[in-house]
């Protein structure tokens, strides 16, 4: 299982992962699972009725808005980065947090690199499965590199123009 890092209260920590990520061609094991959008649309209701947590994994082609109706019952959304250069999950993350009001776990999976920590956290991701062997302490340090931000995003950080007005 890939390592799971969670971001909380300004710190990144390695965590046990209660979820099992399941591919489309695998049998669904007991317990909490993360399944693809396709599988969720087919089997989601059934699975959620089985007293378990069901997380949904989206690939960049899939519009995050399709989850809007079910979002209140979804504890975790995983957004896949097929290649770290594919920036679509950043938009998807912000929409989930800022427009659809998602408060569950927002996990970055796939080609996830330490050097994108700050961008990911600002867009609302709070869990990561790094693909580059990076450690939690490195994620904490990377996320703290910048003392200020220029624009609002999903992390609630105060943009520079607000800081200036407050001085």
């Amino acid at each position: 299982m890939p390592m799971l890092i969670r971001w909380h209260d300004g710190k990144a920590r390695v965590c046990e992962d209660p979820f099992t990520s399941v591919d489309d061609d695998q049998v669904i094991p007991p317990g909490d699972v993360i399944i693809s959008l396709t599988r969720f649309q087919a089997e989601g209701e059934t699975l959620m009725g089985q007293c378990r947590q069901v997380g949904v994994r989206l690939v960049p082609d899939e519009a995050v808005e399709v989850l809007a109706y079910d979002l209140a019952r979804i504890p975790l959304v995983a957004l896949a980065f097929p290649k770290f250069r594919d920036g679509r999950p950043f938009s998807a993350a912000r929409i989930l947090r800022e427009r659809l009001g998602f408060t569950g776990e927002l996990r970055a999976v796939g080609d996830v690199l330490l050097e994108q920590a700050k961008f990911m956290i600002r867009c609302g991701f709070d869990a990561f499965e790094p693909a580059d062997g990076s450690r939690a302490d490195q994620w904490t340090a990377a996320a703290r590199r910048f003392r200020h931000v220029y624009q609002r995003a999903a992390d609630g950080a105060s943009p520079a123009f607000i800081e200036r007005a407050a001085r």
Binding site: F84, G87, F90, K118, D132, F146, R147, Y150, R152, A165
Partner: protein, 552 residues
């Protein structure tokens, strides 16, 4: 001009520290070149033919004299004592070492300079009107808005991994000096029907393999909604721009595919759903930025300067310089002075450290410590008293910077080409040098009049050849450098894409072809027609016949 406050400077310092850490990880093998490359590019560091190239941002082409001196020193300490000014108003240093890059960024940061996002699939350096703040022609200083966009775009967490690079230009004058129609987003500030300031938003312009003029997707955007509207455009692009093929990944392809109307509709839909107030700048911040650009320190002078007039009478060469290189300023008694980096025979756009230092001194003494660099790869002193122009001219002359050729046949835009660039098919610099030497005589050049030649060493079109009155594109044909000529392009308000003249010519035939075409123009022109005007009237035939006469 805008002065970086503590927050801005801390941004640069934090970014430089981050890059230092990232370089260390790369050198230690903790990240691969594949993973490091986007990071390196987002700090403007390219690996080119001979060495690393660092592209330093000069936002909206405005520099203080201190900043220009810093660039001169860095070019001297870390490079070969010169820099190359580009069509995107950046400065390139062509001989940089990776191990020096963190130190260079630290030193740049101290003076409010950086190389942030000058490459990579992110929002690039913002460009604006080189005459901003000095021309009577503008409805507002576009740099107020350009600086607002620059801050919003810097380290934008959602838009740092776009399908492709993204370029935005802002103009506020009736005469467009920014080529706004060939930008991913072009913003034209104007007064609407009620006299309110508003933006016309053009999206999907671009050069490269398939040149496009950007259609207007919104005629009137209230200025207070600038950033939220840009967010909507960028989000639609980030979500729907193609990522399967780098040659189809620019926003121009998305706009062309959907059609301007449908694209505009998707942007409006996204915009309406978004929290505009969360993105748009409050008035207090806009006022703060605006205050930095308020003109100050100008004397009350008569419109006509006797010293300036007398100098023109006394010296024909100075009179020519005044005609070609000095433009009327909005404040009476002042002028805008263009400094040509196109001395015939030199590499277009190159400037030595000594020359930069001289210009910095002149800026400090005569131009309120402000200098500019332009889309044409020239420099500029924006606020010079006409009384002082003769002294400035003498100083420029002593440094080989007084070529009176702005906008003329020898004021050629040329990319570095195959001499430096890993992407090029052919060299551009020797072609530019050859043409410029041929027409070096200032009287001849002035007699020909406005003729904008633009040369690119490959289809990426960094030399903007598509919008040259004569465009020259380097191609490789059977192992030799050949050049495809186009005619009738323009990057001005009357923007047009050049048309192909005929089969590509070998390197040694290019200058001769230009000569033939100039002869046709001089023969055919009526009245005050520029080369472009004559071409638009006569069409291709007389030019094509002249160049390819031997083929018949």
């Amino acid at each position: 001009m805008y002065q970086y406050d503590e927050i801005d400077r801390q941004m640069l310092a934090d970014r430089a520290a981050e890059f230092r850490a990232q370089c260390q990880r790369r050198l230690a093998g903790e990240i691969t070149e594949d993973q490091f490359k986007p990071i390196r590019l987002m700090n403007g560091l390219y690996l080119q033919l001979h060495a690393y190239m660092l592209r330093i941002a000069i936002p909206y082409g405005t520099l203080s004299s201190q900043q220009l001196r810093t660039l001169a020193r860095i070019a001297r300490d870390y490079d070969r004592g010169y820099g190359h000014f580009t069509t995107r108003t950046n400065l390139q240093l062509h001989w940089i070492k990776l191990r020096d890059a963190p130190d260079i960024l630290d030193e740049l940061a101290k003076l409010g300079l950086h190389a942030i996002q000058t490459s990579g699939n992110c929002i690039r350096n913002l460009t604006s009107d080189p005459h901003a703040g000095a021309t009577a022609d503008e409805v507002d200083d576009p740099r107020v808005w350009t600086e607002a966009i620059r801050q919003w775009a810097t380290f934008h967490p959602e838009f740092s991994f776009l399908p492709r690079k993204f370029k935005i230009a802002v103009t506020a004058a009736a005469k467009d000096r920014t080529a706004v129609k060939v930008y991913d987003i072009g913003l034209r500030l104007h007064r609407d029907g009620e006299g309110e300031l508003a933006f016309e938003v053009l999206v999907g312009g671009g050069l490269g393999r398939t040149p496009y003029l950007g259609p207007t997707i919104r005629k009137r955007l209230p200025t207070r909604h600038l950033l939220s509207y840009l967010q909507a455009i960028l989000r639609v692009y980030n979500r729907h721009g193609r990522r399967d093929n780098i040659w189809k990944a620019r926003i121009k392809v998305l706009v062309a595919g959907l059609g301007a109307e449908e694209f505009g509709r998707q942007v409006e839909e996204e915009w309406e759903k978004s929290d505009k107030a969360g993105v748009d700048l409050p008035d207090i911040e806009l006022a703060r930025i605006r205050a930095a650009f308020v003109p100050r320190g100008f004397e009350t002078l008569p419109k006509v300067s006797p010293a300036f007039e007398a100098a023109k009478e006394a010296d024909l060469a100075f009179a020519r310089f005044a005609r070609r290189n000095v433009t009327a300023h909005k404040i009476p008694g002042y002028g805008i002075i263009d400094i040509s980096l196109k001395t015939p025979g030199e590499t277009p756009g190159d400037c030595s450290s000594q020359q930069m230092e001289l210009i910095a001194d002149l800026a400090e003494r005569y131009s309120q410590s402000e200098a500019r660099n332009t889309y044409e790869q020239n420099l500029l002193l924006p606020h010079v008293r006409l009384d002082d122009v003769p002294a400035v001219y003498e100083a420029l002359k002593s440094a080989g910077l007084a070529s009176p050729n702005i906008g003329l046949v020898t004021d050629i835009i040329a990319c570095p080409g195959l001499d430096y660039c890993a992407l090029a098919n052919a060299r551009a610099i020797p072609i530019a040098q050859d043409i410029a030497r041929h027409f070096a005589n200032p009287e001849l050049a002035e007699r020909i009049g406005e003729l904008k030649i633009k040369i690119s060493g490959c289809i990426n079109a960094c030399g903007h050849h598509h919008v040259g009155n004569i465009g020259i594109l380097g191609v490789d044909k059977k192992g030799e450098e050949f050049y495809q000529l186009t005619l009738g392009g323009s990057g001005d308000d009357d923007a047009s894409i050049g048309q192909v003249l005929g089969p590509a010519l070998p390197a040694d035939k290019v200058t001769g072809a230009i000569d033939e075409m100039v002869a046709v123009y001089l023969r055919e022109r009526r009245g005050q027609e520029r080369f472009l005007d004559t071409f638009r009237r006569t069409g291709m035939t007389p030019f094509k016949e002249a160049v390819y006469a031997d083929a018949h």
